[in-house]
Amino acid sequence: MENKREVMKKLDEIAEKIYGDLIKNEIPSLTLPTRAKSNIVFDEHFGVWKYGKGITSRAAKTLDGAYMLLRTMYVAEFIKSMIKTRKSSTLREMYYISEGWNMAKFSSQQDSDSIAEDLEVITGCLREDFRLRPEEDGARIIGNLVIEEVTRSGEKRRIHCQDDVGDAGYSIPYNVEKEKIVFKDADADFVLAIETGGMFDRLVENGFDTSHRAILVHLKGQPARSTRRFIKRLSEEKKLPVFVFTDCDPWSYRIYGSVAYGAIKTAHISEYLATPTAQFLGVAPSDIVNYELPTDELTKEDVKALKSELTDPRFKSRFWKDEIKLQLKIGKKSEQQALAKYGLDYVTDTYLPEKLAQMGVLKK
C-alpha cells in the first residue's frame, strides 16, 4: 500500500506525460506491459507468473487510443478526488459516474474495469490504493483463527473465526491489508480453500475445522483478489500449508491456477496475490477412477479448455499433464459433491483424510 501523496503523484505523472508530449509536438501516448497470455513469464524470485517484456503503446494516433488516453485521465482525476475526500467506490459505481464524462464516458463496465487495471499496471499502485473495490465481497472463513479488524469507526475489533461468527463464517472485506486486518493467533495445521458453497457448508456442518484443525476458506468460484490476498498473507504469516479443493473440470483447475500461480489479468501483481506453495488436493481425474465417482460427459468447451491447459505454461508439471491426459482419455468430469454417493460423512471421514495423508499433512 502506497501512501496517498505517492499515489496522487503517480496519477499526475500520467497527465504530465500526455501534456509533455503535446508541448513537444508529439502524439500523446502511454506505454504499459501487454496484458495477454503470450506475455506471461515465470518469475523465479517470487515463484509466480508475471508479465514479460512485451510492451503495448496506447497513443492518440488512433481513435481508440485517443479515447483510452482521455478516459485514463478522467479515471485518474476521479481517483484523486476520492483520495482527497476519503471516499471509495465500486467499479460499477465508477462506471455509472462516467456517464457524466461526456466523450470520455464508457460504453460498458468491462471497459472501465479494464482502464482501472491499466492504471494499476502503469502506476504500479493497487486498486485498493485507488479506493476502488469490486462488486462482490470476499469469501467466508471458518477456523481456529483470531483476526483483528479495524472497523468503520476506527476501533480495533478482535474476531475469533469460530466462536465469534455464525455458521456462515467470517466475511473477508475488500481490503485485507495490514492497516485493516492483522492475523493474531492461528491454531491450525493447514488452510483448505474450497470452490463451492455447498461443500464449504458440508465441511462446517461435519465440524471438519475442529476435527482436523483446518481453516476453511470458501473461494466462491473464481476467487476475488481479496480472497487470494488473504490466503497468501495467512499462509506466509502463519506458515500454514494451503490446499485447494475444487470440482473436477478444466475451469476448476484455473481456479487453482489463479490461487497458486497468478492470473493473466492480474499478472502485474501476481507476487502479491498468488500463493506458490498452494497444492491441488482434488477432485482430480484420477479420483474419478479411484473413488468410482458419478460423472458427466465432457462438453466440447471442456475438451477445448483442457487442451488449452496442456499448452499453458502454468500447467506444465508432470502431475497436471498426466491428470489432464487421463481426463481427456476417460472423457468425464465430476463435482466435489459427487462424493455424497458414499454418504454425507464420506468426504470428511474418508476422502479428505486419505488425500491429506497422501500429501503428508495427516498421518493415516
Binding site: N25, I27, A60, T62, L63, A66, L70, M73, M103
Partner: protein
C-alpha cells in the same frame, strides 16, 4: 419410258408452306413455349415501335397492354405507339408477309433486322388461336386512321385482308396492334416486366406504360428528351465483312468493268493503295472484268481482303447510349435499391470482320442488393434486352473471365459469375450483331467483341475500385477527424486542468496525427432559366424551359507537417460544359478534365475550389473523380494518382 427413281421422288418434292416452316422452327424464332411466346410477341412489337419512332425523330411513347379475359390460355396483346404510322397500302405487307422489311438490306444499327419479327407474331397468333390481328395506323393529324383485320395466307406467304375500314383515332399519328396468342401470362409476367424495365434502361428517351392483365399500371418514365444520335446507313459494305455469295452477287450486278473500280466504288475503305495490294495478293489483274471472275478467283479475292490491312469502316453508323445516360437510366430504374454508386463506360467503336461495333458497360453497386447472391447481368444488343441464354453469351463469358476478387466481389478461384451486391450492364451495338441463333438471345463468341467487353468491364471495375478505395480511406480518415476535432482538444484540456497549466497549442500534433492531404467535395444543383444555360444538348422539349447548373465545391486541406504543392485534376463528363471556375485552372480539356496547378498550401491550411458545369440534369453528376499529380498519392485522401490523359 420407264419412270426413274428421280421421277418418283419428284412427286414428293413441293414447296414448303411458311406455316410448316414456322411450326418446325418456332423455337428458334422465340415461340418455343407459351411463356416465351408472350415475351417475344411484345418484344417484336415494341422493337418495331422504337425503331419507327427513332427514324422519325419522335420521342417514343409506348403503351403495352395484356388481357387474359378471353379463352383459357389466350392472351390479347396490345402495343400502341406515337410513331410516324405506316402508309395504308404497306400495312398488310408489314404485318402479313414474312421476310418483308426495310432493314434487311441496310448496313446500320437497328433493333429488327430480318423482317421476320412482327409478321411471325401475327402468324403465331393465327396458328395458335385462329384469331386475326387488328392493326390501326395513322400517319398525319389531317388524315384518317386505317383499321385492318389481317390474316396470313400460309401457302402463299401473302397477307389476307379480312376487314379494312377508315376509323376515328384521337392520336395525331401512330400505330396500334392487337394480337391474340396462346401465352402463359402467369409465368411470363415476370419476364415481361423485366423485358420492359430493361428496355426502358437502354432507351432512356422512351416512355413505356405497361398495363397488366389485372389493370395494374407501371410507367417507365423517360429520363432524357434527347433522341439517340441518328444512325447513318452504311451505303457500302466493308470488304472484311463480306461473304462469298454476296461478293459474287455484287460482282455480277456491277456496272463497273474493271475489278479495281469495282472494289473502290462498291466497298468502303478501299483506296488506291489498298486496292492494288488486294489485287496483288489475290494474284488478279486490276483491269479484269469483275463479271468474268471464276469462283476460285473470288475465293482468292476474299482471302486477300483478310490479309491486307484495310482501314476500319466508318463508325458513325453506331449509336451508343453514352455514359451519362446509362448512369441516369440505371439510377432511375434502381431507385428502390438506393445503390451506393453507379459507374458506366462507353468504349470507342471497334470492328470485327468488317462490321463496326461498340461496347458499353455499367455497374450498379451496393444499397439493398444482396451481397451473397450472384451478381445480376443485364445484357443488351442494339438497345434490345437479351433475356434468355445468359450462359451462352459472350457477355457472360467475358465477365466470368475477369478476376473480380480484387474488386471486393466473391468469386471462387477468380473465375465464373461473382457473388456480390452488384448489377452488371453490358450493351453491344453493331451494324451486325453476331447472334448465336435466330432467336437473338445470345451474342456469339467473337474474340474482338469479347475483348472489347472485357476492356469496358475493366474500365468500370477501375471506377468501382476508385469508389471503394475512397470510401474505405474516407471512413478511416473520418475517424481521425473525430479524433483531432473532438478528442484531442479534450485530452489537451484535461491534462492541462489536472496540472493547472495552460492548454497547449495542437496544430503541430494534429498534422502529425492526420498526416494527409484531405480533399472533399460538395455538389449542389442550381435551377436556372433555360436561356441562361450553356448547353450542348439539342432538342429540348418546348415545355421545359429550365435547366440545372451543377456546382462543385472542393475543399483541399493540408494536414501534413510540411507545405504541399501539387496539381489537381477533376474529371468532367463528356456532355458537360464548363462554366464559372475559381481559382483559375491551368487547363480545361472540354469533355474530359479540368487541371489546376495549386499554390503551396501551408500545414493546417485550406484551399477552396469552385466550378460549375452546365448541360447536365440534376443528379447526373453527384460525385467528383479527382486525381493528383506532383505529390505522393498515398498522402492524399479523396483523390487518386493521375495516370495521364
Amino acid at each position: 419410258m420407264t419412270k426413274t427413281i428421280a421421277h418418283e421422288l419428284a412427286k414428293k418434292q413441293r414447296e414448303i408452306s411458311i406455316a410448316e416452316f414456322f411450326e418446325r422452327n418456332k423455337h428458334i424464332l422465340g415461340f418455343g413455349n407459351p411463356t416465351r411466346a408472350l415475351v417475344t410477341a411484345v418484344k417484336e412489337a415494341v422493337d418495331n415501335s422504337l425503331d419507327a419512332c427513332e427514324e422519325a425523330k419522335i420521342l417514343p411513347d409506348i403503351l403495352v397492354e395484356v388481357h387474359t379475359k378471353g379463352e383459357d390460355g389466350e392472351c390479347k396483346i396490345i402495343v400502341e405507339d406515337n410513331g410516324p404510322g405506316i402508309i395504308r397500302r404497306q400495312i398488310p405487307l408489314v404485318f402479313g408477309k414474312l421476310l418483308y422489311g426495310s432493314r434487311f438490306h441496310a448496313i446500320r444499327q437497328s433493333r429488327g433486322q430480318q423482317g421476320i419479327g412482327i409478321s411471325a407474331v401475327v402468324l403465331y397468333g393465327q396458328l395458335s388461336t385462329g384469331k386475326h390481328t387488328i392493326v390501326i395506323s395513322k400517319i398525319d393529324e389531317k388524315r384518317p386512321a386505317h383499321l385492318y383485320e389481317l390474316a396470313i395466307d400460309t401457302n402463299k406467304n401473302t397477307p389476307e385482308i379480312v376487314k379494312n375500314e377508315v376509323t376515328k383515332w384521337d392520336k395525331p399519328h401512330g400505330t396500334r396492334i392487337e394480337v391474340t396468342i396462346v401465352g402463359d401470362y402467369k409465368r411470363g409476367r415476370r419476364f415481361l416486366y423485366d423485358y420492359i424495365q430493361s428496355t426502358s434502361i437502354v432507351n432512356p428517351h422512351a416512355q413505356i406504360t405497361f398495363v397488366e392483365a389485372n389493370g395494374e399500371k407501371h410507367v417507365f418514365e423517360r429520363v432524357t428528351d434527347t433522341l439517340p444520335r441518328p444512325t447513318v446507313e452504311l451505303k457500302k459494305p466493308h470488304p472484311q465483312g463480306i461473304e462469298l455469295g454476296t461478293l459474287i452477287k455484287m460482282a455480277k450486278n456491277t456496272s463497273n468493268r474493271k475489278l479495281s473500280t469495282f472494289l473502290k466504288k462498291e466497298f468502303t475503305s478501299m483506296g488506291e493503295r489498298t486496292t492494288d495490294a488486294v489485287c496483288r495478293i489475290a494474284n488478279l489483274d486490276k483491269d479484269a472484268n469483275p463479271k468474268e471472275l471464276t469462283r476460285d478467283e473470288f475465293i482468292r479475292l476474299l482471302k486477300a481482303f483478310k490479309k491486307v490491312k484495310i482501314m476500319a469502316p466508318p463508325t458513325d453508323c453506331l449509336s451508343p447510349i453514352g455514359e451519362t445516360l446509362i448512369k441516369r437510366s440505371l439510377k432511375h430504374e434502381t431507385q428502390e435499391i438506393s445503390p451506393e454508386f453507379i459507374v458506366a463506360t462507353t468504349r470507342p467503336p471497334s470492328v470485327y470482320s468488317g462490321h463496326p461495333f461498340q461496347v458499353e458497360a455499367g455497374i450498379v453497386y451496393g444499397g439493398k442488393l444482396d451481397a451473397n447472391s450472384p451478381v445480376k447481368i443485364l445484357r443488351f444488343a442494339n438497345r434490345v434486352p437479351l433475356l434468355y441464354q445468359q450462359g451462352g453469351c459472350v457477355s457472360t463469358s467475358a465477365l466470368s473471365d475477369i478476376d473480380w476478387r480484387r474488386y471486393k466481389l466473391e468469386q471462387r478461384g477468380g473465375k465464373g459469375i461473382p457473388n456480390g451486391p452488384a448489377i452488371f450492364f453490358i450493351h453491344v451495338a453493331s451494324t451486325s450483331v453476331p447472334f448465336t441463333s435466330e432467336s437473338k438471345e445470345a451474342i456469339a463468341d467473337v474474340p474482338e467483341i469479347e475483348n472489347e467487353i472485357k476492356l469496358a468491364l475493366r474500365e468500370c471495375a477501375r471506377k468501382m475500385q476508385h469508389h471503394l478505395n475512397k470510401k474505405e480511406k474516407r471512413i478511416k480518415t473520418r475517424e481521425k477527424f473525430e479524433l483531432i476535432t473532438k478528442i484531442l482538444p479534450e485530452i489537451a484540456k484535461k491534462s492541462a486542468s489536472m496540472l493547472e497549466k495552460p492548454v497547449p497549442p495542437l496544430d503541430a500534433v494534429i498534422t502529425r496525427i492526420m498526416d494527409v492531404v484531405w480533399i472533399e467535395d460538395i455538389i449542389t444543383y442550381e435551377k436556372v432559366e433555360r436561356k441562361k444555360v450553356q448547353t450542348t444538348l439539342e432538342g429540348f422539349d418546348e415545355g421545359k424551359n429550365y435547366g440545372y447548373i451543377t456546382k462543385s465545391q472542393l475543399l483541399v486541406a493540408n494536414y501534413k507537417q510540411k507545405p504541399q504543392k501539387f496539381n489537381l485534376y477533376a474529371l468532367i463528363p463528356s456532355d458537360a460544359v464548363v462554366g464559372f471556375i475559381d481559382p483559375k485552372p491551368a487547363k480545361i480539356e472540354e469533355g474530359k478534365y479540368i487541371k489546376w496547378c495549386l499554390p503551396a498550401i501551408e500545414p493546417t491550411g485550406k484551399l477552396e475550389i469552385t466550378f460549375e458545369l452546365a448541360g447536365l440534369d440534376k443528379g447526373d453528376f453527384d460525385e467528383n473523380d479527382l486525381y493528383v499529380e506532383g505529390i505522393n498519392p498515398e498522402y492524399v485522401i479523396g483523390a487518386d494518382k493521375w495516370e495521364g490523359d
